[in-house]
Amino acid sequence: MPDASTSRPPLPYGWAEAFAALPAETPPAGGWERVAHALPVRRRRWPAMVALAAALALVAVVPLRRAVQDAAPSAPLVHAPATTAEPTRAPTVQPASAEPVQPVQFAEGARSGSSPADVATRDTEVIASVGADSATAPAPEPANAPAASAAEASTQSSTGTTNASQLATSPASRDQTVEPAATPELDRLYAESAQLESLLALARDGGGVANGAVAMLSDDLATRVAQIDAALTQPSIGSERRLALWRERVDALRQAAAFESTQRLLAARGQQYDAMLVSID
């Protein structure tokens, strides 16, 4: 019987080439979807990411807004700060309607004593409590507390971040010597301060463990704000000095917000803030 295979010459190459010439097999469809589904899910913290985005947006937008306002000082001021600052006003406190609102988180560090109303509204992280020297701050005056109590209740239910009773007891509100010309800018600073503090509270929510360098930087910023708050409690403070202090306060808060935002961004990328310690002789 003739063998057909012997009638054909063998291949001019070896088994390796013959195997390599075989077409690659195609796996069943949907393989990647199954693998992707089975991959360990990286922990996503959407609230933190949203807070980060909001903080970044604010840090970028607020200076622009300030620049626009500075560029048009003669324009009529519309007494309408940002929405987050609105609940900080107590409508029943007549003299304070144009007066500053002391945001609760940072103002805590400037106060040595707390009224029951103050304690009730503490539901967010208090930055200044770390570095504030409470022994030097005066006790709040309860004189206006009844007048503010009604507004306090509504404020607590709306945001939970601002204490309306502080409207009457905060250092800024006690100062009745603020000149009318400075009031619009103070209003803007109060509103911006409240916004930044709200964002900081969000960004720091569930912050977890920080390394030493991060904790030190964060603490420094908090201490700076606390010192400003302490200075604002001084009864003899003038309007110019008050305005300057509030500007410093907002600036410090901006830095804190930017720092926290950077922290969140690095954490979302699986990185961390590494401050290098150097020795300079």
């Binding site: 013959a18 195997f19 796996p27």
Partner: protein, 189 residues
């Protein structure tokens, strides 16, 4: 002369860095690049498409989960590491499944078959059928040696056998493969 492995794909370091950082898009790109080489290797070793699909999935999961550990020491490429994981996974399943762990009986004949393959080996379908007819362990040795370029010592280590086993399986398997192909030719002539 061993042909270039189908795994031999140079992966950019930037893509690896993204994958190490947990970038899903980078994961998918790596998967798309290597799914066919891994599946082909697994199918050659296991001989079953369903099992090969499982090997592909497990291999990719292991690689993507441990990609942070890959450092490419001594210039070893990423694809070499991935192939090693795939081979281990496929051979582990082969050992687990005793039905497919048969091999051509050793006869102590280690002589290399230097004769060129028969003409029928150029027919991809015929060669695939002939390979599929071999015992799984024998087919694995042939594939690892000829297609992937492993040495007998490496194959012995991978299969947890001896180098003699690898040589014997290669010699016997090649002869069997040649026979299968030569018999098949008249059917297609």
């Amino acid at each position: 002369m061993a042909a270039t492995s189908s795994f031999a794909i140079d992966v950019p370091e930037t893509l690896l860095a993204r994958a190490r950082a947990g970038d899903r898009a980078a994961f998918e790109q790596l998967y798309r690049w290597f799914e066919r080489p891994v599946f082909t290797l697994a199918l050659r070793i296991c001989g079953d498409r369903e099992e090969a699909a499982d090997v592909l999935q497990e291999t990719m999961l292991k690689v993507l989960a441990r990609i942070g550990d890959f450092r490419g020491r001594d210039g070893s490429p990423f694809w070499g590491w991935l192939r090693q994981v795939a081979v281990n996974e496929a051979l582990m399943r082969l050992r687990r499944d005793r039905r497919n762990s048969h091999e051509v009986p050793e006869d102590g004949e280690f002589g290399d078959d230097l004769t060129p393959p028969p003409a029928a080996a150029a027919d991809a379908a015929a060669l695939q059928r002939a390979l599929a007819a071999l015992p799984a362990a024998t087919r694995s040795v042939l594939w690892l040696y000829h297609a992937e370029g492993y040495t007998h010592e490496e194959i012995a280590a991978l299969m947890q056998r001896t180098a003699s086993f690898s040589k014997s399986q290669l010699a016997r398997g090649t002869r069997r493969l040649r026979t299968l192909l030569e018999v098949e030719v008249p059917a297609h002539a």
